[in-house]
Symmetry: D2
């Protein structure tokens, strides 16, 4: 493999983040998130989001999503999400596990995005006849979506407004939140609480951290108390939490997270442009952040792989390739990809 575009999960840790962990490695520190690093999280993220937030540091996005949703949904409650959502497709039922049998109800929508109509339709289907049915309890959106596309702030606001009108809590799975903010060039607040989002799984592992996510609560801080319990019972309350929190602090310090995301997005844009001008390959979805989905022939993909380019095809669709650009993707990597693409035209 001369260049790897399989997943941003495969990237290493960004140097400033690793350095912060090394720097944290001095002397003893209080255990179980009572260390100085963890104690600074609320303040640092409140500044970043321009509002008073509570932050629960966690090692994985699956844990953050599951704990967020379980903190607002009773076992007989339903969470609405897009049918491609990570919580539905890729977490082996972590939300159902933490939520003691809650149900995920999926809606449709092009390019990985729920629409007001598809959400209303799913909500209607999830609502029912009293105790015989699940009770709709939360909406979970994904930003960037699983198709590499983006919700505009106004789109999020519309969906969260619908959710709120129906009495639902709102959650954003931001596994690639940095790529979204970088691409939309807006304030983090604009994509979250200003648009009606109440809880955010603020992803950091894919974009430069080692194993660190921040579950952010905008208001409703009583949910944080429940989430803390779920974190402990789930085995996610690290004794040496300082190293996890140090990652998160370094990640948002001096806009590191946005610089890393911009770098990834820029490489993705170069590739997307090349695909657009390619005679055969074509973009499956608008390439709006750091992922590019390409529809092409199976033989072409096989030749691309043989040329040393690493990427994944969609499960069950061998003619749909996904190319992910990470914070560590270099210009040389991208040029290798472009050259291989061009050689196949």
């Amino acid at each position: 493999m001369i260049a790897n575009f399989r997943s941003d999960n495969e990237t290493p840790v960004a140097e400033p983040v690793l350095q912060a962990m090394v720097d944290a490695n001095r002397g003893t520190a209080c255990a179980y998130a009572e260390d100085a690093w963890s104690m600074r999280l609320d303040e640092a993220f409140s500044a970043l989001f321009e509002t008073d937030v509570r932050v629960l540091p966690l090692p994985t996005g699956t844990a953050a999503n599951a704990i967020a949703l379980a903190s607002v949904t009773p076992p007989w409650g339903a969470v609405l999400c897009h049918r491609n959502a990570h919580i539905y497709c890729d977490e082996s039922g972590a939300p159902e596990f933490y939520g003691h049998g809650l149900r995920l109800v999926t809606g449709d929508g092009d390019a990985g995005k729920l629409t007001p109509e598809s959400f209303a339709h799913a909500l209607h289907g999830a609502s029912g006849h009293g105790v015989h049915s699940y009770q709709a309890a939360a909406l979970s959106l994904t930003q960037c979506t699983e198709c590499g596309t983006l919700y505009e702030p106004g789109e999020i606001a519309a969906l969260c407004g619908q959710a709120s009108d129906a009495g639902l809590a709102t959650h954003l799975d931001g596994a690639r939140f940095g790529n979204a903010v970088a691409a939309l060039d807006c304030a983090p607040a604009d994509l979250t609480w200003r648009a009606g989002v109440e809880m955010l799984s603020f992803g950091a592992s894919k974009n430069g951290c080692m194993a660190a996510e921040a579950l952010v609560f905008f208001g409703h801080h009583e949910r944080y108390v429940t989430a803390e319990r779920l974190r402990k019972r789930g085995g996610h309350l690290f004794s040496k939490m300082r190293y996890l929190s140090a990652q998160l602090l370094a990640y948002i310090e001096n806009d590191l997270w946005l610089r890393l995301a911009h770098q990834a997005n820029a490489q993705a844009a170069r590739f997307a442009a090349a695909v657009e001008s390619h005679p055969e390959a074509r973009l499956e979805y608008p390439a709006q952040a750091n992922e590019v989905f390409v529809r092409w022939s199976v033989p072409a993909f096989e030749r691309l792989e043989a040329a040393g380019i690493g990427f994944l095809t969609w499960p069950g669709q061998d003619d749909l390739g996904r190319f992910v650009f990470g914070h560590s993707t270099t210009e040389e990597d991208t040029e290798q990809l472009l050259a291989a693409l061009q050689a196949l035209s």
Copy 2:
């Protein structure tokens, strides 16, 4: 605080372990435990334990314990343990959570240790009348115990033999397993599978790692398949598992773990000897590894604390102090403690 003996959870990461993480930070690597480091775990631990094992890397001991127990216990099954066990007292029901309502049944025993009699008594109480009762399913021992004491290999063998005769699976919570092996000067195998232990929560975080434990399966590898599912649903399948696995590999390489544990145990022994010759303070339990429990007067403890010595008293017993010696405890730390002790005699 001039010297900190509050908990080995508060220690930093040992340099070789941190260096291994830094070394692992090169280029991309397969996600979700399919990286080269994680793929080496089975082999490395099989060599360490002199038998064919399967290893599930996890970030916390709570996760390791809960997943181990849930992989052998049905929701209507009971796990037998000492009434001081971490799984019973300190995990907020993680075993009950992962085990979907399994029950922990506790037994007594001096100095944190179950005896054949107390185990038999607890087992008798847990067994019952068919479907009306829980069904005894597993025995979980702790080594070192919560009182800083040790089970001899023969003691483990006797209890595991009883358990096996009753059809129970056997688990060892080895949060301080390194301190135990170092203190008993035996092979890791002697304290585990040779003594009838089927699953081990091999602790590493307290003794030099950042957030890393190895759940080790001796035989019954079908349980590993269940445990993998529980790990994923619990949100513990890290995308960048290489950094967790690299810790474990560095930890056991060249006996680092034993050297670190010996260092901690040796400091503890120095302090224990000083307590024994002290006119007022006295050892509550035999100090067999890296923890020393001291019965003294409340005013004496207050003066010790005022002298800058960090330690914890037992919940509800202000005249019982716990002093924990970690891998990073220096001779200077211990000398500060000895001096403060002497000054109060």
Copy 3:
């Protein structure tokens, strides 16, 4: 209300069943299903089904369905069913509760019936990438379907064959099993084990019992042991089980259940024929058993109701009426309905 076609759940208890309960009310009897009535269930149902079965008496269909599915599905397993299935739409997550977060995955199909294609499609969607996804574990069919239609034995055999090939257990929700057997004029075995069904929720409450269902296991009797545990933990192991078992015995004795079902089906057929010849109303689905679904205008339904006819409209579809004929529906009831229908033409 001059005649009630709202639901067979609203019918009284058939006289022979009630008499059996009265007859059982003599002297003391062993508790917890060790009474003489309960002990006869296996034999009586084995004779009925022409094979060796184990029977777990339960008071509700929801309990029977949930316990059946949970006895074959791990928490990370998926149950495939039609999107209209009672287990998905009407049990408030009882399967997810008993199954500790298992997932129901739905397929489509006209008139409430899965097809080989829709089942294959749903199965494909439910299958995934190892531990990241749920693992397909069971197929649950409904007979009669929620649309009042029937699977032919060959259709069940085809679907169960697909399920078995994919390693899935098979379950039939037979809340109206009597109506199905009566309508298809086949042996109970033909619709169950001979067609590959491994577990049956044999419904009796709707068709003449008070609160009694039989969860029948065809083979795989080790599942029965798990189901017994789930029954106890769910609070369904009645102390005075004799009265529940007596219902079931009376229900199947001398073909009472089939006579009751025939009676209901015959009334439904009369009404269906009248709808077919009506100028405006039309059958939404083939009326194959004891339920008739009628598409008509909202004003027409309002007038029908005003005329004293009890029935329900489908949630969210005021122009789709459901008319259910029970074991206690009399010819006079049906004639009232036919007269009211005719008066509105």
Copy 4:
């Protein structure tokens, strides 16, 4: 067996209760507890308890207990109870199941009764260090106790007062509540809400009903909403609830329940007096209601059994016999017992 004192679970249904079920068997009735009988429960029990209550009809005491406790206890919450409590010893984890891994913490006390001291001790042990421990959430008392003894109203008030001061909800497992009220000759209110009890599992099955218990909520009616959800998910929302509710109405009408209980208690008292004057047998506990526990020799018990007397010995204690007098125990039954006892003196 010439006379059966094994358990009040083995008794038949009292005639007026059975007659009420027969009377309810007329025509159709709304399903799922919206029938006329179920709708009367709140009013009837409010009159009985002299306060505004909500009543959830359920078929078993296990379901009532589990649903009550789960409606006030989070998964990380602990329920305090006596170590002999039915919820701990005989329900195979139903509370843990409905409560998603809640924990039962037991206290000691002679003759099956918690004392202020033993409750305080257990509460102290259950309370802990923040998220690392379970959080004490409820107290559950049993009346009559598992030893056939009684709490005086003042004793209940003291324990409930302690519980309330500690922020715990309070529950009474009243499987034999009728025997208690009859024996203490007080108002039902005196043993419940006036003494600080917030939820009552009002048992009826043992004392004359077929399968009927009333979960009674004194205040905190929002818990009823949760309990309704749990009832449905547990599969306990009967379609034909009228027959269950009719039992409960008949049971409390005209003090039937108290007359039945008095009858049972009176027979027990006769036998207890005979034991007291017996040269060898002796009462293990004060015989205060309808159960008599006798300490005697194993050979004597064997001879008693050989004489045709049915009774049970305590699990693991062959020299401790339990004799239960039910609503259907006749004077002849008791005389047979007395004669057999006397023949063995």
